[in-house]
Amino acid sequence: MSQRAAVRRKQAIFRWVTVSVVLAFFMLPLIGMLDFTTKVRRGGRTMATWKTLMNVSEISTKYPALKEGFIASIGLSVITVVIMLALLVPTMTWVRLRLPGMSRLVEFICLLPLTVPAIVLVVGLAPVYSWVFYLFGESTLWLGLAYVVLVLPYAYRALDAGLRAIDVKTLSEAARSLGASWFRVMWRIVLPNLRTAVLSASFLSVALVLGEFTIANLFSRRNLQVAMYQLGKSDAKISVAVGLLSLVFAFVVLFAMSFVGAQRSGSRRRRRPLAAAVAPAPAGTGSVKEPS
């Protein structure tokens, strides 16, 4: 009808065309995976692979390596998240409260892993790990110590966004004036207010750990990705199915979280910690992710 409506319509057409084309590119390999896992040699379909995958006891007897890798990755996720939170939350809060002059340095260190490719880190970690394995025994779970470094930038940004949204200083001064100890300030005041940020940081860390391949593979440790890789040579179908399943799972979680984060606070300008964590770093350090 009018020029403005025409502009809007043109915009809508452009949007749908662009999104459709790109989505087609995104979807084709995924459909390819689904096709591959359900294909029968002489045509036709079978859900056998998926049935196996859903059957926990069958999969653990038939594919012990996959089970081992999966359990290792779960253990690694827990270790990584625990160390990451124990390391970052008190440090970042403390720096905000008592050592603001150090915030740049802490930020720099946390974002540094973005500029050091994982493969380079592996090279440098080799001597460190020869000590770790020598002192504490050869467990795959020790990889979690290195994974903390990998997740540092993402966790830092998620928590930073959370800390920005609350006024830690005033809150803790208020709590201190009411007689709370520093420990109580952290536990009763800061942490509850950081719930969303802690959740985002943990989610990102888990996602990264579940997708980690480089370090585990080069240290000859078997986590989920390495198991999938090895299995891919003998039984590709189950391997591809695991890959697709983990992707769909991650998407569902992220999609659900996009609703949770948005509905909570009333202020529109408050950045969601998850979005902040994957957005570019203010200092210009890149967002290089490990498992690519």
Binding site: M1, S2, Q3, R4, A5
Partner: protein
């Protein structure tokens, strides 16, 4: 005083006629008509969502009305795109291009009009002079205060010598002091160059202070369009009376153009109802005197600088705000008996 600006001959008439605009079920503009005389400064006032911004954006061509016509200087521009309408517009905030200096911002519109470099530079210099920012010409937006940014935005809008100047709540993001200062400056400049101006605001004081005429809007309609004094003294509706200035609602009996309020007979404005009514009386239309045999008890007294305000409860249970001289304020204390009497100014009565 009404339409007379000294430079009226340089402005053009602007007419919004029967404009309608709806967003789904909401009528942002409900057959709104507003005519601006050449060189006139009209302020549109109203609560948020009343349609004042929609009206301005329709005039700017940033929204399309569903129906109605818009003319500028007698030319129908309803179907014309924004960039052909010859307007200057100042937005609420953040409208300066962040990657250009103040001078480059001001030059932008001139460049769009194909003017050569030296003309542009001269004109931009003049405009920055006009808003008192020559010294800031090479600064970027983020290096300036909010008030300075809005001055540059004003200079940018005026640099192209537009036929109409549109001000979309340009002061609402500023703090109180800068606000009054810039408000007066906008008026000074507008009088100087005589551009027909439409100013949208939700701040009644702002509207009353600068405009030739103020239009009060409600639910997409113009409730009243009148010079500031008239709007204040003779509000056409209860909505206008309550939106512009502070008003007491007091019970009374109206008949034959007069109403009995707190024992005093007041003349009524046109449009008043008859029978048992509520009469709207301004705080400065009431007097309060300490009196042990009075008709009210003081609840609180507040010092407001130039004057004071006493809040009292009448024996009839009504709460009344009364404006008193600052000097008289010490004689009012909470719990004290006072006599409150309307002064006899004209008031508006509305049916209960």
């Amino acid at each position: 005083m009404s339409v007379a600006s000294p430079n009226a001959e340089r402005g053009v008439a602007v007419e919004l006629t029967e404009l309608r605009r709806s967003y789904g079920p909401v009528n942002a503009l409900d057959s709104m008509t507003l005519h601006l005389a050449p060189g006139e400064f009209v302020a549109l006032l109203g609560p948020s969502g009343c349609g004042k911004t929609t009206a301005l954006r329709c005039l700017a061509g940033l929204e399309d009305p569903d129906a109605g016509t818009i003319t500028i200087g007698g030319r129908d521009v309803t179907a014309l795109p924004t960039n052909k309408r010859d307007l200057g517009m100042v937005f609420q905030a953040y409208s300066l291009f962040p990657h250009m200096t103040a001078r480059q911002n001001v030059e932008f519109g001139l460049e769009m009009r194909g003017q050569d470099k030296s003309t542009r530079a001269r004109r931009a210099g003049d405009m920055l002079d006009l808003v008192g920012l020559s010294s800031q010409a090479d600064r970027y937006a983020h290096q300036m205060s909010g008030g300075q940014q809005q001055r540059v935005a004003l200079a940018r809008a005026l640099a192209i010598s537009p036929q109409v100047l549109l001000l979309d709540e340009p002061l609402s993001a500023l703090d109180a002091k800068v606000r009054t200062q810039l408000r007066d400056e906008i008026r000074r400049i507008q009088l100087e160059i005589g551009t027909t101006t439409l100013f949208v605001t939700h701040d009644q004081e702002e509207a009353l202070a600068v405009a030739d005429r103020v239009g009060v809007m409600r639910a997409g309609r113009l409730e009243q369009l009148a010079p500031p004094q008239e709007l204040y003294a003779r509000p056409a509706t209860a909505f206008v009376a309550e939106f512009v200035g502070l008003t007491n609602r007091l019970a009374g009996r109206a008949s034959g153009g007069r109403a009995e309020v707190l024992g005093v007979s007041l003349p009524l404005l046109a449009g008043s109802g008859d029978g048992n009514v509520e009469v709207l009386v301004r705080p400065e239309g009431i007097e309060a005197t300490p009196d042990p045999n009075g008709n009210a008890t003081v609840l609180s007294a507040a010092f407001l600088g130039a004057h004071g305000r006493v809040t009292a409860r009448t024996d009839g249970g009504e709460q009344v705000e009364v404006q008193v001289a600052s000097a008289a304020l010490p004689s009012f204390e909470p719990g004290q008996r006072v006599r409150v009497t309307p002064r006899g100014d004209a008031a508006l009565a509305v049916a209960r």
